[in-house]
Each structure stands twice: as C-alpha cells, then as structure tokens.
Amino acid sequence: MSLGFFVFAPGFWDNEAVHVALAVGTAVAIVAGVVGVFTVMRGQSFAGESLGDIGTTGGSAAALVGAGPLAGFVAVDVLAAAAMELVGVQRVRGRDLATGIVLGAAIGLAAFFLYLDSTQGSGNGSTVTILFGSIFAISSATIPAVVGLAALAVTMIVVLYRPLLLATVSPEMAAARGIPVRLVGALYLLALALATALAAITIGTILSTALLIGPAAAALRLTRRPLRAMLGATAIGIGAVWLGILLAYDSYHWPPHEHGWPVSFFVVALVFLGYLASGLVEWRRERGA
C-alpha cells in the first residue's frame, strides 16, 4: 500500500462533493487573498468582520424562502456595504458606533430568521451551515455564480490597484493627485462585500473574516511589496482550504467514526498556524538582520 492511501482516504479523488469543494474553495481563497491584503492595509478588519456577521441575516432569510445561502449573503453584504459607506464608516474610523448598532440589529433579525428556519423544518441544520459553513454541501450548480463573483471582485481590485494603493497609503496625497478617493473606497467596500459573502459559503459567516484577514496578515509579515503579499495570501489561503478539505474528508475515519470533522475548523486552524509561522519567520529574519 502506498503512502497516498493513508493521506488520501479512499474515494477522495472520485467524490463529487470534494470536487465542488476544491473548486469553490480555490476561487474563494484567491478572492480572499487579493481583497484581504487591502483590508488589512486599510485597517478595515472590523468592517470585514461586520459584513461577515451581517451576512447571517441574508443566509437565514434565504433559507427561509428556500433559496441558496450565496444569494442571501451577497444581497445583504452588498446592501450593508452601501449602508456603511453612507454613514461614513471609511472616512471616520470612530464611527464604530454606527456599525455596531446596525450589526446588532442585523444579528437580532438573523436570530429570528434562524429560529423560524429551525421551527419550520424546511432548512434542516441550516443554522450550523450558515454560521460555520458546510463546503461539502455546496451544489455544483453554484460553481458558476461563485467563480463569476470571485472574478468580478478580483477584477475590481486589479483595475483599481494603483489609485487604491495610494488612497490606502494617504487619502490626502491621493486626493491631491486628483484621485476620487471616496469613489475608490466605495468600490473597494463593494469588493470586500463580495469577498466576505464568498468566504461565508465556504467556512460560514462567523468565520469568514478568518479566511479574509488571516492569510493576508501572514503574507504581509513576509514581504515588503503589496503584489507579492497578494500572491502570498492567495497561496496560504489555497493551501489552508485544500488541506482543510483533505483533513475533513479523512476525518470520517477518525473517532468518532462515520462523523467527519467540520472543514471550517481545519481551514481556520491552518490559517491560524500559518499566521503563527509567518510571525516566527519574521522574528527570525529580523533577528538575523
């Protein structure tokens, strides 16, 4: 028996759910890496976390009417991003209060929807799926939407790259050069909303920020250049998602038997380990320098 037999449990490569999970996970890791680097640089992790949490409302409402969670996440996250732009979250970082209040109201609504979901029985187990994700349960029919939205968000960042970078370094300097700083920021927030919604279908609304922020933060420790940070974050994200899917699949054979461990746990744990490892590399590099 080969080593491959132990690493890849039987049926891994033939399982359609695994194929879908790998495809979706890869697209999401790419968009999370590209968008996440700017999220960390702009100090908007809290906005990302809020968008992720608010997505719960959309996911639970979608489950209530029998629609897929992705549509709910995208609709609510884009609306929430527009609302955040209107109350000026980006311009005044002290506007935590407005975000906090909207967030509280949205989560309250989500609690109500999730309650209806569980009592009406139509969305069996939807609470756990929405909050913590369930990448093996994604239908292959969702792949075109996932890939399309991911491509849209990545394209937005690529097109806006230089104006966005200068506006991130200094809004004043960007404005002095005639860059429409507010428009660029609003478009960025839209890309962040898409990335958050995509991360939510992979590892759930609550954990979505982990995939967005973790790989980006790790990559930013290792390089002095934003483009390399994006590539690094994408690579770390893909690595964590692939390995997470593999471990979750293999875990069917771990105790307790016939109950796989959640993919989200593995992905988030691997992202966290990646972050710790990057800190170690940075520490050693700076000590050596």
Partner: protein, 277 residues
C-alpha cells in the same frame, strides 16, 4: 518676471459659517521659494487645500499657470503634513515614489525601464537611495519627508507645496529638509511653497514670505513683511519684532499670548509682564 505659477486673487473660504480665509492675495513666480508662516489655526492647511482644489473657494480665484486649476493637474506636487505611515505597510520608498508618476492609472503597473530610471533619478535627487528599499513606515521622519518630496517631484510639477514638513523633525533633519527643498527650487526651477509656524529655519532660503494670521495674509520679502507696523495691522493689535543674534522673535505687545512666533517659550519667560490676559 515670467507668468506666475500660482496666483491667489482675493481668496475667501468660509467653512461652517466661519471665515477661515479672507481676501488672500499673493503670487508665486517660477522657481521662487516662498514661506507660508502662521500659527496653528491661522488657515495654512485650508489655504493648501484650496490651492489643491480640495476646498472650494467662497470668494476670489486661484490660477495655476495662469489658468483656473483643475482637479487633475500635474503642475502641483504636494507633500502632506507629517502623518504616521503604518510601519507594517508593505511598500518600499521606491514604490511610493513610483506611485507619484502613475497612481491615477488603472490596472497593475508595468515595470517599465523609463519609470525605473525616473524613480532612480528622483531618489538620487533627494538623497534617498540608501533607504529606498526599506518599508516607508519604518523610516525616520526626515527619511519619510525625502521619499514624500521625491513622490511629489516625479510628475514634474512647477510648484511644490509642502505642508509643515519641518514639524516633528529634530533640528538637524529640519535643516537638511530645508536645504533639500532650497536645492530642488534652485536646480530644478520648481517653485516651492512651504508652510511653517516657525520662521527662523526658513529665513536664509526664502525669497518671499506670506504671513497668515486670523485668516488674512501679508505678502512680500521678509524685510517687507516682518515689521511691527505690517504685522500689527495683520494681527489687529500691537506686535513687536525682536532680533536676537539674527533670530527673529515676534512678540504680542498687548493682549494675546497665542500669536507668538519664533522662540515662543523664551519670550514667555523673558517677558512675563508683556503677556497680559
């Protein structure tokens, strides 16, 4: 004198009902070094924002190269007021300088030879080659100023605006930045408008001075402006100009202890009787 690179004509700016700038008139000729002097709150940053087109004028107009300014001009380079760059920002000094050339363009930057050469030239012009590959946020205040000046210069402006570039710098770094700006002005023929609340560091290099107080301005050479009668009229109360071994101290004669320039501490301690409520 050639056509002015900048002329400010009867500029008035009102923000939230408060007249921040009132009847500001001055012009800057090509290659001239002008100091914009005034205490905090005198309206220096508002004037800069108006010149940059970020603050609409309530009255008067601003001409750049003889034409009303547009948002997208490369005629003006801008060095913002000292701000703290995030030390973890993944951006080298040379990347920030390069952004001065093409930040408005969409898409990723193609690493063109012409751009690389221009960035190298600017880094050399400000003496920043040695630290061009360090993350900008980890550079000292003086080093960051050099990178920011190179960023502003790379697009070939005819006027460089520097907002309080000497604030928070130690004396030696401040002198180096002043010398650098003066050299840029002479060698490249770029007019410089630099704001400061302290006049003495700039006295040796200034061609002209625009003195701002209570939203109004007096302009001319330093001999024409730094006089008790001119400054008293500007402040609206009596002001003395004292020369201490070549350093100028501007002292409120009566009433106001906020409008002291030069070595404020010394003045307060030396002349306690003069600082009445």
């Amino acid at each position: 004198m050639n056509e002015a690179v900048l002329s400010v004509e009867g500029l008035g700016v009102r923000i939230a009902g408060r007249q921040v700038l009132d009847g500001i008139d001055f012009a800057i000729a090509p290659g001239q070094f002008t100091g914009l002097i005034g205490s905090n709150g005198a309206g220096k940053t508002t004037l800069f924002r108006a010149i940059l087109g970020l603050q609409p004028a309530t009255d008067g107009r601003i001409l750049v190269d003889g034409r009303p300014r547009t948002r997208r001009t490369d005629s003006i380079g801008y060095v913002p007021q000292k701000f703290l760059l995030d030390p973890d920002l993944p951006l080298r000094g040379r990347d920030l300088v390069g952004l001065g050339l093409d930040a408005r363009k969409l898409g990723f930057a193609v690493n063109r030879r012409r751009k690389r050469e221009l960035v190298e030239e600017m880094l050399a012009a400000v003496g920043a080659e040695a630290f061009a590959d360090t993350r900008v946020g980890r550079l000292s205040g003086g080093e960051q100023q050099r990178i920011l000046i190179a960023h502003a210069l790379i697009s070939g402006p005819r006027l460089l605006l520097a907002d309080e570039p000497l604030a928070n710098l130690d004396l030696r770094s401040a002198q180096e930045v002043v010398a650098l700006l003066a050299r840029v002005c002479r060698e490249r023929g770029v007019a410089v408008l630099i704001s400061a609340h302290e006049i003495n560091a700039l006295l040796p290099v200034m061609d002209r001075i625009v003195y701002l107080a209570h939203g109004r301005a007096a302009g001319g050479t330093s001999e024409e402006v730094i006089r008790p009668d001119v400054l008293s009229r500007l402040y609206g109360h009596h002001v003395d100009v004292i020369d201490v071994h070549g350093r100028v101290l501007i002292v409120a004669g009566a009433g106001d202890d906020e409008d002291l320039h030069g070595c404020e501490e010394t003045v307060e301690h030396a002349l306690p009787g003069e600082v009445a409520p």
